[in-house]
């Protein structure tokens, strides 16, 4: 079908831009889409899409879930379109789609996996209609961009296409309320033996029954607003999960998944609960998509979480663990602090969470650190906390507020010097918790630390 001269000019100009950027060894994941939309504002509507698409959305975990879905599909030799190396906003999605088209505008792929930014979904989903959308969760995120959960929930409620089958987290009483009139599948993790029923969480964005406004009660409260909830008036309850992780064996590195009264054992990709949720989300949507449990079990057998999120170095009897902490995102950081908290053995922690851009050009708004559960770092096993960067004095106040003894806290403005404060001989674990853009820097720091501690 002829789509108009403007569309083809936009397609060719954007494809040319893509080729030129690649020759110049530049990142061509955003600009070609911008060019296409500038020339033809209707480009996203007109461009051909893969017949079957999986959308991945949610405040935290969508990149990890998208990567897992990609890895499973690749393992089974699916050929599909994705935006793994691209941006998840309108220009990035447009770039991915135009890359997948021939010069005559014919879509080359039958399948597509797209990570979609929640805030941008109102500009994308009217034209890109995934057959399946998996939503990981809705939490408080960067307030400067995403404001609050009511704002994001309303955008998703209005944007998600009517015919999409939603795969939702039953344990999240916010995202599991999306589009109640549509077809759903739900996933959940049963209460685990080590979990406390009264979590130490500052942020809790869902308090009331969506129908009658009564205060929601918990059968089991995992963290933040996550858990198995019910309305005392009987107007709402957490949906019964289709996919349920019944038990996790950390020593054997596996978990048992129940689906329709059958039980399946899966290799555990990560021992961090947030990544177990991510793995479960990927399994649930891929099974809904049509893969068998056997195919999924096989594909996950040798999978690891992407290295940019976490890495590990051995030195003497110690382990240095770098872990990404999404700065400006209180819940994401709290979940990482929880992981540190539950890691057994004596440890020291370096925190490098300054936003690189704000550190150079602005004065970072750190309100979010008072929504993050730094109290989880107030633990006897954590013997020293070194906060690095321009805002280290603000973090020191936050740590004091969390009840951490001042003698344990070191504020160091120079991020590169933080490793000098790590005790030698080293403790059993040394954590370097870093913002999303500091991965390379922290890899270097970890390697320098290994040399220093040898």
């Amino acid at each position: 079908m002829f789509k108009g001269v403007r569309f083809y000019i936009a397609l060719w100009a954007a494809k040319s831009a893509y080729v030129i950027l690649k020759i110049l060894k530049r990142n061509a994941t955003h600009y070609p889409g911008w060019v296409a939309l500038k020339i033809c504002p209707q480009f996203l509507k007109k461009v051909e899409k893969p017949e079957t698409m999986i959308g991945v959305m949610g405040t935290n975990g969508k990149t990890t879930v998208s990567n897992m879905i990609d890895d499973v599909l690749s393992y089974h030799h699916y050929v599909y379109l994705n935006n793994r190396l691209g941006s998840n906003i309108k220009d990035g999605i447009t770039t991915s789609l135009l890359k997948g088209c021939s010069i005559l505008g014919k879509m080359k792929y039958q399948y597509g996996v797209l990570e979609i930014d929640e805030r941008s979904s109102r500009l994308i989903l009217p034209y890109v209609k995934p057959k399946y959308i998996v939503v990981t969760n809705i939490f408080r995120d960067s307030i400067k961009r995403n404001a609050h959960t009511d704002f994001i929930f309303d955008i998703l409620s209005h944007s998600i296409p009517e015919k999409t089958l939603l795969v939702l987290n039953s344990d999240d009483p916010l995202s599991n309320q999306l589009k109640p009139q549509q077809e759903h599948r739900y996933y959940s993790i049963a209460p685990l033996p080590y979990e406390k029923d009264k979590p130490l969480s500052i942020v809790r964005d869902v308090m009331l029954c969506p129908h009658c406004g009564a205060k929601l009660q918990y059968d089991f409260h995992r963290y933040h607003h996550f858990g198995h909830v019910y309305c005392p008036n009987g107007d709402y309850t957490s949906p019964t999960p289709d996919y349920l992780i019944e038990s996790i064996d950390y020593e054997k590195e596996n978990f048992v998944l129940k689906f329709e009264e059958e039980r399946y054992t899966f290799h555990l990709v990560s021992d961090n609960l947030i990544n177990i949720y991510n793995q479960l989300a990927a399994i649930s949507v891929l099974h809904t998509f049509g893969l068998t449990m056997k195919q999924l079990q096989d594909a996950f057998k040798s999978m690891k979480v992407t290295r940019s999120r976490t890495s590990s170095f051995k030195v003497k009897e110690s382990e240095i663990i770098t872990h990404m902490c999404k700065g400006q995102n209180a819940v994401a950081c709290s979940r990482v602090f929880d992981y540190v908290h539950f890691t057994k053995g004596p440890k020291e922690v370096i925190i490098l969470l300054d936003d690189n851009g704000d550190a150079k050009k602005s004065s970072e708004n750190l309100n979010w650190i008072y929504d993050a559960d730094f109290e989880l770092l107030n633990d006897e096993s954590i013997e020293k906390i070194i906060v690095g960067g321009k805002r280290c004095f603000d973090y020191k106040v936050r740590l004091l507020m969390a009840g951490i003894d001042e003698s344990k806290i070191i504020a160091c403005e120079d991020e590169e010097k933080t490793i000098e404060y790590i005790t030698n001989p080293p403790k059993e674990h040394i954590f370097i918790l870093h913002d999303i853009w500091k991965y390379q820097q922290c890899q270097t720091l970890a390697k320098q630390l290994v040399e220093r501690l040898k």
Binding site: H148, D205, M207, K215, N365, N367, D371, F393, D394, M401
Partner: protein
């Protein structure tokens, strides 16, 4: 001493709840009421020394107004008799005349001050603020969907020297009337401004050091220098 925090389950997003968490650490002997939405506020039946309410979602604004409008007269009495009020973020809008939504719908507010707010949901405003209050330099952050207009000059809380006041282009930020303080500044306003905490403690009749005084002033000094560097650019 009695300090009432209104509706902490809704009115403390963006880190605002930390203002009360910090005051609790400063005033270990005070009684703190954390009043949930389903409960009648303590200020209705008894005198309290201070009332705090913080940032909330736009949906929560309506829910909270429904609860507070029946107590409008009592709130006015408390303001007039000098009870300390600290109101942060968009909670400040509730004390004005009305909030105008994007479709023109007006939500009636407490009408205790002659300001009104207008929402603009698709143009979020973020900003840094440095301003003067008495002999203090107040610092803070804004992140909001709405701005306030109307009478503001006489009772402004902060005279902004960097950033915007209650709406872009003006220097008057918030309201200070007797011991009532409201401002669009969000989050841990008290933690960012130790001198203002000391000022509040004097208003509350407390003569003691604030918690973590040295660390608080160290963080404040670095932040102020940082902001002034931006201001001079």
């Amino acid at each position: 001493m009695k300090i009432e925090y209104l509706y902490p389950e809704f009115c403390g997003i963006f880190g605002d709840q930390a203002n009360m968490a910090y005051l609790k650490q400063c005033l270990e002997d005070a009684v703190f009421y954390d009043t949930p939405i389903e409960q009648v506020p303590h200020f209705v039946e008894e005198d309290v020394d201070m009332i705090y309410i913080g940032q909330m979602t736009e949906r929560s604004q309506k829910r909270v107004l429904e609860k507070l409008i029946p107590y409008r007269e009592r709130l006015q009495t408390l303001i007039e008799q000098g009870t300390v009020f600290l109101v942060t973020g968009n909670a400040s809008e509730l004390f004005g005349e009305y909030i105008e939504e994007e479709d023109g719908t007006r939500i009636t507010c407490l009408k205790l001050f002659s300001t009104y707010a207008k929402q603009d949901i698709w143009h979020r405003y973020n900003g840094l603020v440095v301003g003067k209050f008495e002999n203090m330099e107040i610092i803070g952050f804004k992140s909001q969907f709405s701005h306030s207009y109307g009478s503001h000059q006489k009772d402004a809380f902060i005279h902004v020297t960097m950033g915007d006041g209650m709406h872009p282009g003006i220097q008057e930020e918030g309201i200070h009337y007797k011991n009532f303080f409201s401002t669009y500044l969000i989050g841990p306003l008290l933690i960012l401004n130790p001198a203002f905490v000391e000022y509040l403690l004097v208003l509350l009749g407390v003569n003691k050091d604030i918690a973590y005084k040295e660390a608080m002033y160290e963080a404040y000094t670095h932040r102020l220098e940082d902001m002034k560097r931006l201001q001079s650019k």
